[in-house]
């Protein structure tokens, strides 16, 4: 009996070792075999945060700040970390409906259960304070800082473009972006997105059971600091831009000024405009709609780049250059003008009469002279076997000036303008057409349409005597003295340099004794050409194109004021004011600014 009892010692030992073994097997299973616990642990305690870099700043050509960043607070959500929470409380804080709340949660879930997505964008500082305080009640939510674009001066809205949430299409194609990331949608923001966006950083932080951050994981071993975006230096001259916008003073129209030697845009105005700060942040959608609905002013429409106008008399300069190049005329070729270009039933009226050579024809903007040389170009059958070939040769020169096509530089929303093909005329005129059929194109009316940027660039070509560099708005990247190499190539046009002198001489005469003589600037030799762009919908548009100084051109300009009548009266004074402002020194600038302010007050 005693022996039998003694054996129980072993039974007990067996039970003890057996149960310990069961525990060990279980531990072996959960600690070594089953990896799901490690994953759970990471989801529990680690939060992968994206550190958004500050977007690059944009300065003007004189180091004035044009675009900077402001801090905003986004409420982020990680669906996987969601627990039951007081939805009403959150709705109250954010002032949203419960339906919206549920919808947003669904959207976030659909994107990713683990990656944080934006739940509420750009909370106000008060909301942020509230949420931060109560965050422990809302597991799965946290606040992330990010920056928003801000503009110290409400000018040049159209060229900056805007930054917005990345679209699904980009998300699908570019792994760099995550839902809720911001991306340049248009303008400079889009063209220089890779430079401006910087490099995203990441931070892995520990989060405790109450959803509070508790320092970095592994002493920040996995963290990467974000690299701020590259700063850009725009070619825009902020003071000139402001001055130009004020000159237009809310009238519909456009001003483009280019430095001819570099293709750098000095100012680019599309009026009416808007404050770029309106299209930032939470209110963007609402403000965008309001601007869009303003059909009368159409402030969102970028007239400088997208609006097509008949170029009017300024186009005559192009036809003159082509006629010179093709040997149709020489500078001394003269024609008598009998108050118009009259062929059979066709009459193109002219306010002028008398015999003019090329220089005088430009000076007085003789319609007869330019109709005639345009007709002679197209009907020269010794040179061109057919009207089509003659027209195509003309069109090639025109396209070479940049008309009828996009520059595709860093500018948003360009349109091509219209330079019809010979096929187009073959079609509508059933192949029976000649120079007189399309004669209005000779004086910049009819089927042709150009954009202000194209016209300004054309002035740069004349100023450069035969070449241009694509117009662009960013001159330096990263450092002020680190030039933007994207746009340095000189594009030589098909017109030989020797032909420009006569045209420029005529343009100078325009300023001295011609249609823009009242707008000449004391002490500056300037070339210009006025124009009237016919407008079938109302009063004609006033046009002026020019550059200065003639010998060493610093600025080429195009001005168009919608429904303002003749170019000489309205557009030319604006252009010469800008040129004068740009070329004169500091003291004169202030004087001009004051003068403009005074006149605007009246």
């Amino acid at each position: 009996m005693e022996n039998l009892i003694k054996k129980r010692y072993y039974v007990i030992l067996f039970i003890i070792f057996g149960l310990v073994a069961i525990c060990l097997i279980r531990l072996f299973h959960i600690q070594i075999l089953d990896p799901s616990y490690k994953k759970h642990a990471e989801q529990n305690a680690l939060r992968h945060l994206t550190e958004h870099p500050e977007r690059g700043l944009i300065y003007d050509r004189n180091d004035s700040l044009l675009v900077y960043n402001e801090v905003a607070y986004d409420l982020m959500i990680v669906p996987n970390e969601l627990r039951t929470f007081d939805t009403n409380d959150l709705c109250r804080i954010l002032d949203i409906d419960k339906e919206i709340l549920l919808k947003r949660i669904e959207k976030a879930k659909a994107y990713s259960m683990l990656i944080p997505t934006i739940f509420e964008q750009q909370m106000s500082k008060e909301d942020y304070g509230y949420v931060e305080e109560k965050l422990y009640k809302f597991p799965g939510f946290f606040v992330q800082n990010r920056t928003l674009r801000s503009y110290p001066h409400p000018v040049a809205a159209h060229i900056f473009g805007y930054v917005g949430e990345v679209s699904q299409k980009i998300l699908d194609n570019d792994p760099y972006y995550q839902l809720g990331d911001y991306i340049g949608i248009s303008g400079i923001e889009k063209a220089y997105e890779p430079e401006l966006r910087g490099v995203k950083g990441k931070r892995v932080v520990l989060v405790d059971v109450h959803n509070r951050e508790r320092g970095s994981y592994n002493d920040g071993e996995l963290d990467q600091a974000p690299v701020a975006g590259t700063d850009l230096w725009s070619s825009i001259d902020l003071r000139l831009q402001i001055y130009a916008e004020r000159l237009l003073n809310e009238r519909s129209g456009s001003i483009v000024a280019i430095e001819p030697a570099t293709g750098e845009i000095l100012c680019i105005v599309s009026s009416p405009s808007y404050d770029p700060n309106l299209l930032v942040g939470k209110a963007r959608g609402k403000n965008y709609r309001l601007l869009q609905e303003d059909k009368k002013k159409n402030p969102l429409f970028n007239r400088a780049l997208s609006a097509m106008y008949p170029p009017g008399s300024t186009f005559k300069l192009a036809n003159a250059l082509i006629a010179l190049q093709e040997g149709i005329i020489t500078p001394s070729t003269s024609y008598f003008c009998p108050h118009g270009y009259i062929v059979g039933n066709l009459t193109v009226k002219c306010y002028h009469t008398g015999t003019v050579d090329l220089t005088s024809a430009i000076q007085v903007s003789c319609n007869n002279y330019f109709c005639r040389i345009f007709y002679n170009t197209l009907s020269n059958r010794t040179k061109f076997p057919s009207i089509q070939e003659a027209y195509n040769t003309w069109k090639k020169h025109i396209n070479d000036f940049g008309f009828g096509q996009k520059f595709e530089s860093d500018l948003p929303y360009e349109t091509r303008g219209i330079i019809p093909s010979s096929d187009y005329f073959d079609k509508i005129y059933h192949k029976s057409w000649n120079g007189n059929t399309v004669i209005s194109m000779g004086i910049g009316q009819g089927e042709v349409a150009t954009t202000p940027i194209q016209m300004a660039n054309f002035m740069a070509i004349i100023a450069n005597r035969g070449y241009y560099i694509k117009p662009h708005v960013i001159r330096a990247i990263g450092k002020k003295n680190n030039p933007n190499h994207r746009y340095t190539e000189k594009h030589y046009c098909s017109i030989e340099a020797k032909h420009y002198a006569a045209v420029i001489k005529g343009m100078e005469q325009v300023m001295v004794a011609g249609t823009a003589r009242r707008s000449k600037i004391e002490g500056i030799r300037m070339a210009g050409k006025t124009g009237t762009a016919q407008n079938p919908h109302g009063m004609d548009h006033a046009v002026f194109a020019g550059f200065a100084p003639i010998d060493n051109p610093k600025i080429a300009i195009f001005v168009l004021v919608e429904n303002a009548g003749g170019g000489g009266a309205v557009a030319a004074p604006i252009a010469s004011s800008i040129i004068e402002y740009y070329l004169k020194d500091e003291t004169k600038k202030e004087e001009l600014e004051n003068k403009l302010n005074d006149s605007l007050k009246k």
Partner: protein, 418 residues
Amino acid sequence: MRRDTKFNISKGIDTQLVIIYLVLVIIGWFAIYSSSYNPEIHSTNIFDLSKNYGKQLIWIASAFVLAIVVLSFESRHYMHFAYHIYIFFLLIMLIVVFVGTEISGAKAWIKIGNYSIQPTEFAKFATALALAKFFNEGKTQSQKRYMWLTAFGMIFIPIIIIIFQKDAGSALVFLSFIILFYREGLSGNIFLIAVTAFILFLLTFMLNELYAIAISTSIFLIFWIINRKKKKKLIRNAIIYGCALLFIFSIDIIYDKTLQPHQKMRIDTILGKTSDPQGADFNLNQSKIAIGSGGLWGKGYLNGTQTKLNFVPEQSTDFIFCSIGEEFGFLGSLVILSLFTALIYRILFLSEQHRNPFVRYYGYGVASIIFFHFIINIGMTIGLVPIIGIPLPFLSYGGSSLWGFTILLFIFIRLNNS
């Protein structure tokens, strides 16, 4: 005791037990430090008394003093005063039922200043001593008849008092003395019944009473078929079966009447009755995640994320094992399990070797209590048994439990040295 030699308490004591004890206590302190360690505030003051690790230093120091005090009494004093001690602590526990302080649902604490003491922890060694004395007493034939009844009575008195304290976990601990009873001749059948009852109890909680009924019914049917020729055995089988069913239903009643809501929640989760991730199985999930994420080598000391960030509740007390499992991985777990197994084995080995049966009785009591605590505590952290809030001996934070286990163990060391 020879009066002519210099009294030396360290002479002849079992160094293996003392070493295992010291190692466990020290590991425990480091684990408590780790689970209270805040990565943001790199406070290096280990004596910070506002922190658990600072307070635990005091408990450890005083436990060492206590151990020396325990060793300095003579063995015969423990034998002599066993009943006195037992009754003394029963009375204290009874007082606690009426005037005690409630901490996390259990009214089992006496508050003295800023510190709370849980008399239940001391009742364990007291009961072990009393049982040892009881078995050691010579018994007349009539006394022997009622021996087991008395023995069970001696463990059920504290159990009932503790149930009144609403501390079901601690009450269960006293059932572990059945191991001692079994060693001392309790009918194998009764031992089997007790173990079966315990398993049924867990099954009822872990699965569903229907499973428990189904399992006991099928066992009954098997026996019925085997013994269908023996009428006497059939009747006994039927009685046992009836008892099992009664037991299962009474568990249900106990479950409904005596368990605290939070305990019910925890148990319900194990049953799969609730799947609220934030609710009851949060504790269990989090403790499994903490241990499971440790891997083979662990995340390294002070690098545990789950325990550090409070995902594991009561991480320095009942769930201290999570900290070790997470930071030292499977190897750390293996070390802890090995130390406990070695400790228990050593106690049982010494008990069997000792000439004085009193020492054996007491030794088995000690081993039973420590084993039960250890296996249930670790079992609950890895989801093998329901969450029963009992500490891991020597490692868990808390003065009462450290003192209680220190006294429990060192009385054995003292007795073993006689």
